[in-house]
């Protein structure tokens, strides 16, 4: 008679309440240790508590359940805390922007520019910067949205050749161009074409367009690919020419997705700072002419107020950051709502 020895560990698993109570104890211990060591530091205490938990749960599980389950519990703890850790910058950033930004944010901030604001003056606002940002981003959109949409149409409806493959690849690579290099390109272009003295919002708009076009192409391409081929074939069968099929059937079907993609692309470039810093600069007055003279933009305004230092300037920087984040979030929200409301039936999710 032979006895079979199994390698399977048959010890019982830990009861569900055990890990939770270890977690509670570890967090309490961590916060307690930091509290006794110095001032009460919730963030540091929690971090210490999580580390304590990982050590404790691995040890307990190793003894009671065996090595394999101990590794599994440690891995789970690491994975969950990785996600918890990424919440820290997100929450603290939003909290800082809202709480610090609200100190100065208001009608006065939104409707005045920086003319005649010196030193620790409490006056001054971002009106000129908001105008500049909207004008420059608007001009960049005027350049890159048509090019982006037509490129996507080329890739999806006319593509297939070697050029189309190159374009797809280069669009991907173009999304990775550093924003400051786009700024240098726009500067070099206008330096060569228009001469060294030319300063205008147009230079910044060209830089932003270089950054925005590949994003538009990518998202519109994805949307056009979602349009079912049956729709195109039905149109061809009725004798509709190809270009009318694209305009009336393909684009019409994908319009919600295209709008969403375009708005997310705008939100992406509206916060670009570096290219505008080196091409458009900053001014104190409001400039409505994109084709002549320096302009202020919101991201550069935030940076300059930060770099200037001092209480009043710092508050203006935070209020500018709040304005910028509100604009970006508004664009993102509208984009999501459009895609939810106007998505053709059957493609909604």
């Amino acid at each position: 008679m032979t006895t079979i020895t199994t390698a399977v560990d048959t010890r019982p698993r830990l009861a569900p309440w055990v890990p939770w109570s270890i977690l509670g104890l570890s967090l309490a211990a961590g916060i307690g240790i930091t509290a006794t060591a110095g001032s009460l530091n919730l963030l540091g205490g929690t971090a210490l508590g999580v580390v304590l938990y990982m050590v404790a749960i691995t040890a307990v599980s190793w003894v009671r359940e065996g090595e394999r389950w101990a590794r599994d519990r440690l891995a789970s703890a690491l994975v969950v805390s990785a996600f918890a850790l990424v919440m820290v910058p997100l929450v603290s950033l939003v909290w800082m922007v809202v709480s610090e930004g609200m100190k100065r944010f208001g009608p006065q901030f939104l409707y005045t520019n920086m003319v005649g604001v010196y030193g620790e003056s409490e006056l001054g606002g971002a009106y000129h910067a908001i105008v500049g940002t909207l004008l420059i981003t608007g001009l960049a959109s005027l350049i890159s949205i048509p090019i982006g949409i037509f490129t996507a149409i080329y890739l999806v409806e006319y593509g297939g050749g070697r050029i189309a493959r190159y374009v797809t690849f280069l669009v991907d690579v173009m999304t990775g161009i550093p924003s400051i290099v786009a700024g240098l390109f726009a500067f070099s272009l206008f330096f060569t074409v228009a001469g060294p003295g030319y300063k205008s919002g147009l230079i910044g708009a060209v830089a932003l367009a270089v950054l925005m076009t590949p994003v538009v192409v990518r998202s519109v391409e994805e949307m056009l690919k979602l349009v079912p081929n049956e729709l195109r074939e039905a149109a061809y069968a009725l004798g509709v020419p190809k270009w009318l099929t694209i305009v009336k059937v393909v684009l019409r079907t994908a319009v919600a997705g295209i709008t969403t993609g375009v708005m997310i692309a705008i939100a992406r470039v509206i916060g670009e700072t570096a290219p505008l810093l080196i091409t458009v600069g900053i001014v104190a007055n409001t400039n409505f002419n994109v084709f002549d003279g320096r302009m202020a933009t919101l991201p550069v305004f935030v940076f300059r107020q930060y770099a200037q230092g001092g209480q009043a300037a710092s508050e203006r920087a935070w209020a500018g950051a709040l304005t910028l984040i509100l604009i970006v979030m508004l664009l993102n929200l509208v984009a999501r709502l459009i895609s939810r409301w106007f998505a053709p039936r059957g493609m909604a999710h």
Partner: protein, 320 residues
């Protein structure tokens, strides 16, 4: 009942005009070409304006204020080092974290929550870089200060951690902010790959009695290896070119060393351009554009390699 068609009527109809088709096809392929031309123009104009920096003599260059007496490569070398160092540090921090977050979203979180959690991470990508810089300078620097002080006190015998000097305007803080900024793109790419793991591999592993972690090790990670590499390279491309966070946090210096906690040691190409460009004149502008050209070439190569890996993976993995 047969439909009667007057054949004479049919013959009278002219074939539909082909003009619309031609114009539209022309517009579409013109836009495609515009992309190629733009990319070529970026390279061309950068080379054009950078050329004087490469052809200038040593004396001309050393007379230029921003070079502080160095030749071109003596000026660019420390900048390249700082750029690579900050990006490498950011990657070392961000990649393990991204793998954890992606695993959490794809395999650990309840399925109903997963998509919402993905959106939350994507939110980080929507925040403008200047706000990350502001946050890093006004919040993160205060938080990491005690940690750095402790590191410097206890592990100060290592060159990495010696002589921490508050405020934390050092390359470590800048890299931390860079890491947060590149997290979303790395996480999103890795998450997509994790979600494509063949369900049968996972179930086979679990059926043999593997724990969840063993299943991840056996089925998910091997499948996703090339995806993780290309995601890291995409993140690297972002980190190399990121300007504002470094500009607003790092106290610049032009040294080549690994003193991660000391201020005034390093500087990156992008932040240096943003810092010097408004005041630069003459040959100085050409030198800065030349450094920008080098940044362009480096990020171009990194991104191209990343995309090539992704494309190869899509062809061979059968996970389309």
């Amino acid at each position: 009942m047969a439909v009667q068609i007057e054949t004479s009527q049919v013959r009278d109809l002219k074939p539909p005009s082909n003009l619309g088709n031609k114009v539209f096809a022309g517009l579409a392929s013109g836009a495609g070409w515009a992309i190629l031309v733009t990319l070529a123009a970026v390279a061309l104009f950068l080379v054009l304006r950078a050329a004087p920096a490469f052809t200038a003599s040593e004396e001309e260059l050393s007379g230029e204020g921003i070079l502080r007496g160095y030749g071109f490569w003596g000026y660019v070398g420390p900048l390249l080092f700082g750029t690579v160092l900050s990006s490498a540090l950011a990657l070392v921090i961000a990649v393990p974290l991204s793998i954890g977050i992606a695993l959490f979203i794809s395999h650990y979180a309840p399925r109903r929550l997963a998509q919402g959690l993905g959106y939350i991470v994507d939110l980080l990508a929507a925040i403008p870089s200047v706000i990350f810089g502001l946050w890093g300078a006004r919040w993160l620097m205060g938080v990491v200060d005690p940690v750095f002080a402790w590191l410097s006190d206890t592990l100060g015998f290592l060159p990495f951690f010696q002589d921490y000097l508050p405020p934390a305007r050092n390359i470590m803080t800048a890299s931390l902010v860079l890491a947060v900024m590149i997290l979303p793109i790395i996480t999103a790419t890795i998450r997509e790959v994790f979600l494509q793991t063949p369900r049968l591999h996972e179930e086979a592993s679990l059926a043999l009695g593997a724990t969840r972690w063993e299943m991840v090790q056996q089925a998910v990670l091997p499948f996703a290896r090339s995806g993780i590499i290309s995601a890291s390279m995409l993140g690297l491309g972002r980190a190399l070119g990121e300007t504002m966070a470094v500009l607003m946090i790092l106290s610049p210096g032009f040294l080549v060393n690994f003193n991660l906690l000391m201020p005034g040691q390093h500087q990156t190409i992008a932040a240096n351009i943003a810092n010097q460009f408004p005041e630069a004149a003459g040959l100085g502008v050409n030198v800065l554009i030349a450094t920008g050209l080098m940044l362009f070439i480096i990020t171009f190569l990194v991104n191209m390699a990343a995309r090539a890996i992704i494309a190869r993976r899509a062809e061979f993995s059968g996970a389309n």
